[in-house]
Amino acid sequence: MTARLAIITAGLVAGAAALAGQGQRPSPPAPGQTFRSSTDVVMVDVSVRDSGRPVTGLTVADFVLTDNGVRQQIESVEAAAVPIDVTLVMDVSGNPRGPWAPRIPPAKTLAAVEAEARQVTTLLRPDDRVRLLAIDTYMQQLWPLQPVAAAPAIRRVESNGLAALYDTLAVALLQPVEPARRHVVVARTKGRDTISAISAAAVRAMAERSDALFHLVIMEQVAAEEAMLSSFQCTYMGLCWPTRRPWVPFQRRLIGGPGQVLSADGLALSAAAQSTRGDLHQTGLLIAPSLVSTFTKAFDDFRSSYVLRYTPRGEARTGWHAISVTVPKFSKYTVRARTGYGIDDPAPARTPPPVAANPRTLAELTNAFEHHAYQAMATGLRQVVDPARLIREFVEAGNPWPSAPRREATFAIELAEPAVFSLRAPTREEGDRLLDRFSRLIRHPLEPDEFERAWYYAVLTQLQGALRPAATEAFADRALARFPGEPRFLFAKAVAADQRLGVGTPGGGLPRTTMLSAADAARAQFEALLTRPEVADEARLRLARLLQRLGRTSEALAHLTEDRLKNAPDPVLRFLQRLFLGHALVTLNRPDETIDAFRSALSIVPGSHSAQVALMNTLLSRGDRDEAEAIAERVQTERTTNLDPWWMYWQGQYRLYPQVIAHLRGLGQ
């Protein structure tokens, strides 16, 4: 018995329906037809059973659906088996009064949790995915969401602590669901919460707005019996074990009193489950509840449900929408669907202040960012006199968009840039502190996600641009701890090692041993990246340049003439390959080939200052004075604002920063 609802914008409708793959497909949009984002589509999961058996073969004409009492036109009914995402939640917390209860060894808990979870996975299909969470003092993710077959062995689980039940349920229910998938949450708890930040009522509110089907199994009775037995032993038999806890936490119990009735919190969670068309399951006396059996029941129902799709008509958009679904022709059928859904009131419209031409104060910059006036923002940031003060104001003021922490994290990177590039060490440190702070705030509670990856990438490109090798390495290490082996982060480390050598002649001003050590480090890191397709071309290019700077021209030449690099998709890399090739050939006294290389570079980036100067020098050396003088005349009279790729070479991947930060802004919205 399941139901599922999704409010999706019209832009997603076609995709969702197409992904369903079967049943009634929506007609393709007619030429010129446009979708409006205000046209929401509602999809409702409906379970129909006859004497406990699923009923199949029903069509649009068989269902009647009302939304706040207004009958709706059902646009499609699909009975396809949609892949599902399963979130299993297991309570491994300890007994808060547990001096009498010997602690279960963690290894035993781990084995039991894994065995039960794997039993559930045997019921799933290959295209289903599973996530495993554990409740203890902190929520733990034992398996991130992943295909069933990929679930790894669980290496460690923290147990016997406090119970963050409500927090963990909230995390499970708030997971986004892809339009073409369904989400099932099956949680098993010992029936009490001792540390969560949120309440059971909050969990209920989240469940009502969640797309997940939620089942909750309470094993409170087992714990209660244990408590009663121990209390009797202590009071009447004198068998009181010394307490292990000097402090007994406040307990919010789901079941209260001798009658094993649901407490207020238990009722709230029961309502939460039922609002999703799931249920709350209590176990019998001294019988351990079965997560597997609960899941099996929910799973069968879920698989055999229909998905009704309609566009609400005749109703106000916002507020609570009560749904009723019936099958009038077959009154004996049991029809289960979600009871309704809620749409929050949109924030009242306010007239935004105009974006300043040169926003420099925090308020002006915030406003510019909010209105996507990024160019104006960049202009204003360049004129900020005291970037450190701006950052302090930002930190003290708090998030300008409280409901959008990712937006704030993106904004933080942009605000940090003038400080990161500052010539003053205290200002740079202020920028570093801001980035450090947000590197902790952006961590997704379950697993590293795409936003965090993009955020780190933006920070690393910025730090490379500022020629800050130490800071780049520090952040790269932190990013790699979250995303082990991520080639772009490894590449940032390699660039930092290269930057440590300084520009121009390697190691200028460094002791020779330090220089050689830094050169070896940079070389090894670039070489290791030659097998990583994402960064192999640029790693090869930079390796060649490093070798050339170290006087190993022949080795550099071998890399620079490698076909893949010569034909790299990135024109900047192709340009630099030819420029560096020319430099190497100069060293080898091959002027004609040198000139060809520089001319080829100019064919890729016409007007490049560096390639023109290099060509001018070579022509003069070869005796072509007239052409050399003509180039000298041209380069000093050209009026262009084009950036020469060579000018940004030492800044690593900073040339990509505009795209990287734009991508992050999109993710942060």
Partner: protein
């Protein structure tokens, strides 16, 4: 300070470098602006600065007083002129991030003053550079035009100093004029594609005299850098540069300077290749005076003319210039390239 200048003349250059046709060597005291000299296919001109022990210019020398060797072969100096040829000065200002604020403003004032110090037929060109070298004003003697351009210069960007020097040296010169290139820079470089080795080759193949003025951030000190051997040579000077690039500094008033840029030894060598020098000027000092001194040093040079005989025309020609005057020090270009 001593300085020198040379120009080599290939056959194809001959017409350009043969100064206006005339008879006989010029009188060193003749104030006429045009030198007269009849050149041949191997005509060579060499700028030579001669000073006494007190660094005062010696101005009464004649052709017979000079001894010139071209690749070790003694040459006959056909004529000598002194202070007659008009001057073209290229002033290149570093407008990268490293030269900003008050220093940039003082620099603006100094360039304007330099413009006012030019002779009637002299001209000045303004080149601004950071990672890019841009000609702000072409050769002119219009003070207001230059002043306006300097005042509108905006600072920013990275520094391609070696590229800018190369561009300034390679730029085509007007044949009947002497050419001085003055760079005002902190001598740091971050984005040049030109290497020191390549720039040295470029300097050997071009004619202009290069001088660098490097601001020193501490104290009202004007420092003149000179090569190790040149100042001590008596009785006759030599143009042979010091064998080492190690810089010996004469620091007046005993104030300590900030450490030199890693490129300074190279620039000491390079400027001497062209007959120029490196000056360190304290930011608190009068930059106008420094620039005026650069101009006066360049102006107070002899130009020697000779037709190279007994040497192969092609390749690098090493020059040695001596003068028959006790206590004199001279500075001339180290050689030229045919």
């Amino acid at each position: 300070m001593i300085r020198a200048r040379f120009a080599s003349v290939l056959a194809v250059w001959t017409a350009c470098l043969t100064i206006s046709a005339g008879a006989g060597p010029p009188d060193p005291q003749d104030p006429a602006p045009q030198a007269t000299f009849r050149g041949g296919v191997n005509a060579v001109t060499v700028d030579v600065t001669v000073r006494d022990r007190n660094r005062r210019a010696i101005t009464d020398l004649k052709a017979d007083d000079f001894e010139v060797s071209d690749n070790g072969v003694r040459q006959q100096v056909d004529s000598v002129s002194y202070g007659k040829l008009p001057i073209d000065i290229t002033v290149a200002l570093d407008v990268s991030l490293s030269v900003t604020g008050e220093l940039l403003e003082r620099l603006r004032l100094a360039v304007v003053q330099l413009m006012r110090d030019l002779g009637r037929d002299d001209r000045l060109k303004l080149l601004l550079f950071n990672m890019r070298a841009s000609r702000s004003v072409d050769f002119t003697n219009d003070v207001r035009l230059v002043e306006k351009a300097v005042r509108s210069a905006a600072a920013g960007g990275s520094t391609s100093l070696l590229d800018a020097v190369s561009i300034a040296l390679v730029t085509r010169m007007t044949p009947d004029r002497r050419h001085l290139v003055v760079f005002f820079t902190d001598a740091t470089d971050s984005t040049s594609t030109t290497t020191p080795e390549v720039l040295r080759i470029v300097a050997q193949r071009t004619r202009a005299t290069l001088t660098l003025v490097i601001p020193a951030p501490i104290g009202p000190v004007t420092v003149i850098q000179s090569g190790g051997g040149a100042a001590s040579r008596t009785p006759t000077g030599t143009t042979t540069p010091p064998t080492t690039t190690t810089t010996s500094m004469t620091i007046s008033r005993g104030l300590q300077l900030t450490p030199p840029s890693p490129l300074e030894p190279f620039f000491n060598l390079l400027t001497r290749e062209t007959g120029g020098t490196v000056l360190r000027a304290a930011t608190g000092a009068d930059l106008s005076a420094t620039f005026r001194r650069v101009l006066e040093d360049f102006r107070s040079a002899y130009v020697l003319y000779y037709n190279a005989r007994g040497v192969d025309r092609g390749g690098f020609h090493e020059l040695e210039v001596n003068v028959r005057r006790e206590g004199a020090t001279i500075l001339a270009r180290r050689g030229y390239w045919n």
